[in-house]
């Protein structure tokens, strides 16, 4: 039961946090082992791999996906999905740029972007949480709508006009590490904390496990899902800010395909697509693993289409061998209470 009203109540510390089952750790260990192995291989293959320049630029490449993947982890744990994140990035990017140009103030632009991101998240949350539209179809439709809006208001043009200092987020460094990496790390810590130690984390796991019983045990499912999607909208906005800062421009074509990459990272990281179980740690390791594979293969002059095949196979292999699949089946059996 919630003691405090509203969304704030969801963030209270949960003293009875359920420990995730052992089987999940197996998957994470596998990933970490894989990461170590691949890292060593890549370093051996190309002398350029283990350079500061390469490692920092490699990290920059996937932070945007990472920010979205963090939020996507929550959404998938709750048994849902969000296909519209890429389109939200597009719409937010365009909004930031247009407001920046219209008001001459970057701050106003950023605020507008965040507002737009939250609004989009709210739309998704209302559709899935309150109107009970299946998440796949709802976010599929909003994917079109948001992207279409971005196209419509920007006329498919690229918009510039940002102050020089803005690039700091995307291209700058703090204490030797890329700025966006710090942003990502802070977010990762917050997300991990929320998932494992607060009521909200427990609620989304419960909803993912079985929405009906979650409802009957007093969880306001609709509100939690709304918060879930608001977070996704917010993180998409953040990713958009990093992206726009990196390329010093905005266009409605940004963000296409980000949803698939984020979902792949989440699932590769051990989160069950059926909902109920998952970890932020896994998502982060999966992200880094995918990053070094792509980077290493490119340096090794492996054609990018072959990379695509390898990553697809990796997804399959990791799920099969980690035993995660078996646990999913157990969950489904238990949840359905039928066997």
């Amino acid at each position: 039961m919630q003691n405090k009203p509203g969304l704030a109540g969801l963030l209270t510390r949960d003293k009875t946090a359920i420990r995730p089952p052992e089987v999940k750790y197996a998957h994470e260990l596998l990933l970490l082992g894989l990461f170590a192995v691949v890292f060593v291989i890549m370093s051996l293959i190309s002398p350029k791999f283990l350079t500061v320049l390469n490692l920092t630029s490699m990290v920059r490449n996937f932070i945007e996906y990472g920010l979205i993947a963090l939020a996507m982890t929550f959404i998938i744990i709750s048994g849902n999905i969000d296909l519209s994140v890429g389109s939200i990035v597009a719409l937010v990017s365009v909004s930031i740029a247009m407001v920046n140009n219209a008001t001459g103030s970057l701050g106003a632009g950023l605020a507008a972007g965040v507002a737009v991101g939250l609004a989009c998240g709210a739309v998704n949350g209302l559709l899935v949480g309150y109107a009970r539209v299946p998440a796949f179809v709802a976010t599929l439709a909003t994917q079109f709508i948001f992207h279409g809006l971005a196209l419509g208001i920007s006329h498919a043009e690229s918009i510039t006009g940002f102050p020089q200092g803005f690039s700091f987020i995307g291209i700058g460094k703090i204490l030797g590490l890329p700025t966006q990496l710090w942003i990502f790390l802070v977010c990762a810590v917050i997300f991990s904390f929320v998932l494992n130690k607060t009521k909200f984390g427990r609620y989304i796991r419960a909803i993912g496990f079985n929405p009906e019983s979650a409802y009957y045990s007093g969880i306001n499912v609709s509100r939690v899902l709304l918060a879930d999607y608001l977070v996704a909208g917010l993180m998409s906005a953040l990713a958009a800010i990093v992206l726009v800062s990196r390329v010093a421009s905005a266009r409605a074509t940004f963000g296409t395909g980000m949803d698939t990459i984020a979902i792949t990272a989440v699932v590769l990281g051990g989160t069950s697509i059926a909902g109920g179980y998952g970890s932020i740690r896994g998502t982060i390791v999966a992200l880094f693993l995918t990053g070094i594979i792509k980077n290493g293969l490119t340096l090794a002059r492996v054609p990018s289409e072959v990379s695509t095949v390898i990553l697809g196979a990796l997804l399959l292999v990791s799920i099969i061998f980690s035993g995660n699949a078996k646990s999913w089946l157990n969950i489904v059996k238990v949840r359905k209470g039928k066997q």
Partner: protein, 329 residues
């Protein structure tokens, strides 16, 4: 048996009303567009619409079957590209038409079997398995073709896509035949009933003697065959086969099935609904051209229309769930 009969009568009652709503929606749309632009209501134009919707319907029926079992197949886009390229390549290579058409169908069946087999034996959730297959297939396509299109198709290639018999386009005839078969299959055959059972409640299905594994594999195989037939109808309309012609093809399929009443959670869905869903999507697309909507706003309008149709559908889903008393996953 009486228990089953009662259940199906309840479902039939509700779903009939859903299909009724969809048909009504279509009639309203057609009327509105015709009022704005009378050129729309032309027999030739209407037949064109049927022709356009033919391959989407056939493939959507396959997707619908997969969704009814509680799964999903996001590899259909990449597989369509692969099948189309193979079909074209075989035609250019000089194989006789019946041969390469048959081989394409067999290839589709094989891919479906592989998907089904993987999903059943490794217990990987269908979405992930087909997502991985999609990556692998699309990467492999580029490795094999290096991006080159298949060109130089023989004249006879376009027979199915563009030909007519007795005034009716072959593609429409094929669609009608497949649709009729699917309606019979899903409601009257044992395998069809098993598909609903597996999707609705796999545990109970297994306990009542249904071989769940075999049903699933067969479902994916049939879906693969349907996809192959759809690919044939699709690529025989073309002059050359582009390497990524099928990209994102699975999206309208899922949309069509969902609008038509197939629940993404499994257990319900009817072929006629899927057909109507596909028809509505095609009408949306055509309407945008006839209404001269500015290019920039097309996508937003399309998304809005899909959302509207989906909301219509969502109401039906809630109603049907309440009435039948099924519990959500």
């Amino acid at each position: 048996m009486r228990w089953a009969a009662e259940r199906s009568m309840n479902m039939k009652h509700l779903i009939k009303s859903r299909e009724f709503i969809l048909t009504l929606f279509i009639l309203v749309m057609v009327t509105l567009i015709t009022l704005i632009n009378p050129a729309f209501f032309d027999p030739k134009n209407l037949m064109d619409i049927m022709r356009n919707v033919s391959y989407t319907t056939i493939a959507a029926l396959g997707m619908s079957m997969v969704m009814i079992t509680g799964g999903i197949d996001v590899s259909m886009g990449a597989v369509l590209s692969a099948l189309a390229l193979s079909c074209g390549a075989m035609a250019v290579g000089g194989l006789p038409q019946p041969v390469y058409l048959l081989l394409t169908v067999l290839l589709g069946a094989a891919v479906g079997c592989v998907n089904g087999f993987f999903i059943v034996k490794t217990k990987v959730p269908p979405m992930i398995c087909t997502l991985a297959v999609s990556s692998i297939v699309s990467g492999t396509i580029i490795v094999i073709t290096n991006g080159k299109w298949v060109i130089g198709l023989p004249e006879s290639f376009n027979l199915i896509g563009k030909g007519s018999i007795g005034g009716l386009p072959i593609s429409v005839l094929i669609m009608t035949a497949v649709l009729a078969w699917n309606i019979w299959f899903m409601s009257r055959s044992r395998l069809g009933r098993n598909i609903y059972a597996v999707g609705g409640n796999p545990g109970a299905a297994r306990l009542s003697g249904v071989n769940v594994d075999r049903t699933l594999i067969l479902t994916y195989m049939i879906s693969g065959i349907l996809l192959a037939i759809a690919t044939i109808v699709y690529c025989t309309r073309l002059a050359s086969i582009v390497t990524d012609c099928g990209t994102n093809f699975h999206i309208p399929l899922i949309a069509a099935a969902t609008i038509g009443g197939t629940s993404i959670l499994g257990g319900s869905g009817r072929p006629v609904g899927t057909f109507l869903g596909a028809l509505i999507l095609e009408l949306f697309r055509t309407a945008l051209v006839y209404l001269k909507i500015s290019t920039y706003w097309e996508q937003a309008v399309q998304g809005g229309l899909i959302l509207f149709a989906v909301l219509l559908g969502a109401i039906s889903i809630i109603n049907s769930k309440k009435a039948v008393g099924a519990d959500a996953k």
